[in-house]
């Protein structure tokens, strides 16, 4: 795999305050590769003091550095490849596709309502990064023609377990909260539980498959419809 071999020259390393670096990458695969490399080095004890490694849409934040310039000098020489990228755990998410925005999503996709679940559950997703709330993962993998904007008016309350879409991402609300994403359905999975190990089901790099609980077992997974 050479997807993450060409673009390292385009990476920018930006200091953040006195104790952090923000690494800008050309596409999400580089962030995955960089996080995996940082995790490997942390496990080997090479990055003492590092408190947090936080991937974003096109960035990785490394916080808690005693010597940011020193790490920046090292980072500039790294060329982590996606060939060394761990597959990440696979989480299957059972979904009942009965969300409040199902009709609106079907209209925008120009498909029948009953096709929304099949299209949404066809790809394998990957958690690009987390944020918004503990355990909320931003999932990439939905073909671009199905990307939708946020709702013009956010809801004051979106129920926990809501499976939703916005801005090129899929996501699942870990708990009741306000939210502006388009709601496709809901799952009974508990995304975040501080008393459980692991506390979050969706961590950066996790692969995700949605399964339509109302679909027959041998449902066609073809996206082309």
């Amino acid at each position: 795999m050479s997807r993450v071999d060409e673009g390292w020259a385009a990476v920018r390393i930006i200091p953040v305050g006195l104790r952090a670096l923000l690494v800008e990458v050309p596409e999400p695969a580089y962030a995955h590769a960089l996080v995996a490399e940082l995790d490997r080095r942390r496990e080997r004890g090479e990055l003492p003091g590092v408190e947090d490694v936080v991937p974003g849409e096109r960035t990785v934040l490394v916080d808690g550095l005693d010597d940011p310039a020193g790490l920046a000098a090292q980072l500039a020489t790294w060329r982590p490849t996606s060939a060394r990228l761990p597959d990440g755990p696979l989480v299957e998410v059972p979904v009942r596709y009965d969300g409040a925005d199902l009709a609106e999503v079907a209209r925008r996709w120009q498909v029948r309502e009953e096709d929304v679940g099949r299209i949404h559950s066809a790809p394998e997703y990957r958690v690009a990064f987390c944020g918004f709330a503990p355990g909320f993962g931003y999932l990439t993998g939905l073909p671009e023609r199905y990307h939708l904007p946020r709702r013009a008016v956010p809801r004051t309350r979106v129920p926990a377990g809501s499976v939703a879409l916005a801005g090129g991402y899929a996501g699942i609300y870990p708990r009741d909260s306000p939210g502006g994403w388009q709601l496709l359905g809901r799952t009974d999975l508990v995304l975040f539980d501080p008393g459980r190990n692991p506390v979050a089901l969706l961590t950066p790099g996790t692969r995700v498959r949605f399964r339509d609980v109302d679909a027959p077992e041998d449902a066609d997974r073809d996206v082309s419809g």
Partner: protein, 300 residues
């Protein structure tokens, strides 16, 4: 009146929360770091009563708190300066105070500063969540803010109180000056934005909380419009939302942000920010950041 190793809330004050060193290390899961906003005050309070640094204290907001101790304990109040009484009698501030079983410890409204810290020998021993007992107001992790009648358990006493009468502390000034290092997104603003940020006219807004210190004052003009792709944000980040007036991210800040961060407050000045009450003038002083790295600063 029952006795035991606990404190009971008699008056909760405007907002009193349990705080310790927070839960850094979970930002990649969307979990805020949380923890005491005025960290040196939290650490001093613990030292005064003989607690380890990571014991939990109570952080008050402006109007103090009243607590009754279930059994004899040592208490110390630090941070915002406020009159302290034990059963109505004046007691020391920033000093270890021995209180008998059943005594009521009162911290009145702060005369200077915003947040006081109460440490009890043994520490507040509520169940930790992800390694911390801190109340996180953004995500709701940790114990709820204190309410009248709550009983908070105290832990085992770790050591003797500090052998001092009163610990010396710095003084808080009328105007708060915060050093700020520009970046990571200073290039999203016009060339005169840093000068505006460093200029007069900023005050702490009443909308401030543990998530962020909101400011009133001049807007910072943008060179690049639109939204930033979501990226990780650090404690002390000076983020500039669409309206243009900066917000300083405090301990309960969201882990990610979609607005550009023009600079980051020097970590040693965050305790000053924690003690700046609404209305306090804020002055930013721009200081040199990290140099000598393979950093690329590309103007767009």
């Amino acid at each position: 009146m029952s006795t035991g190793r606990f404190v009971e809330v008699v008056r909760s004050g405007a907002l009193s929360t349990v705080q310790d060193l927070g839960r850094p290390g979970h930002a990649h899961l969307g979990v805020p770091r949380s923890g005491a906003l005025d960290l040196p005050a939290h650490l001093l309070a613990n030292r005064l009563v003989g607690n380890p640094a990571d014991a939990a204290t109570i952080e008050t907001t402006i109007t103090g708190v009243s607590l009754r101790v279930g059994q004899a304990a040592t208490v110390a109040v630090t941070g915002a300066w406020a009159p302290v009484t034990v059963d109505g009698r004046p007691a020391g501030w920033s000093a270890p105070v021995s209180v008998p079983a059943g005594a009521r410890v009162d911290v009145a409204t702060a005369k200077r500063g915003l947040r006081s810290y109460l440490a009890f020998s043994g520490g507040i021993a509520v169940a930790p969540v992800l390694g911390s007992r801190s109340t996180d107001l953004l995500s709701g992790l940790g114990p709820a803010p204190l309410a009248v009648g709550d009983r908070l358990p105290l832990g085992e006493v770790a050591g003797p109180p500090a052998p001092v009468d009163v610990a010396p502390t710095g003084t808080l000034t009328e105007e708060t000056t915060l050093r700020v290092v520009l970046g990571p997104r200073a290039d999203w603003f016009t060339d005169d934005a840093p000068g505006i940020l460093a200029g007069p006219g900023y005050r702490v807004s009443t909308l401030s909380n543990r998530v962020g210190m909101r400011l009133e004052g001049p807007a910072l003009p943008r060179r690049i419009g639109g939204e930033l792709r979501s990226e990780g944000v650090v404690l002390g980040a000076v983020q500039v939302p669409a309206a243009g007036t900066p917000v300083i991210f405090l301990a309960d800040h969201p882990t990610m942000g979609g607005y550009p961060v023009i600079g980051v407050v020097h970590p040693d000045d965050l305790p000053l920010a924690a003690q700046a009450a609404p209305g306090t003038p804020i002055r930013f002083r721009i200081v040199e950041g990290v140099r000598r790295g393979p950093f690329l600063y590309r103007k767009r």
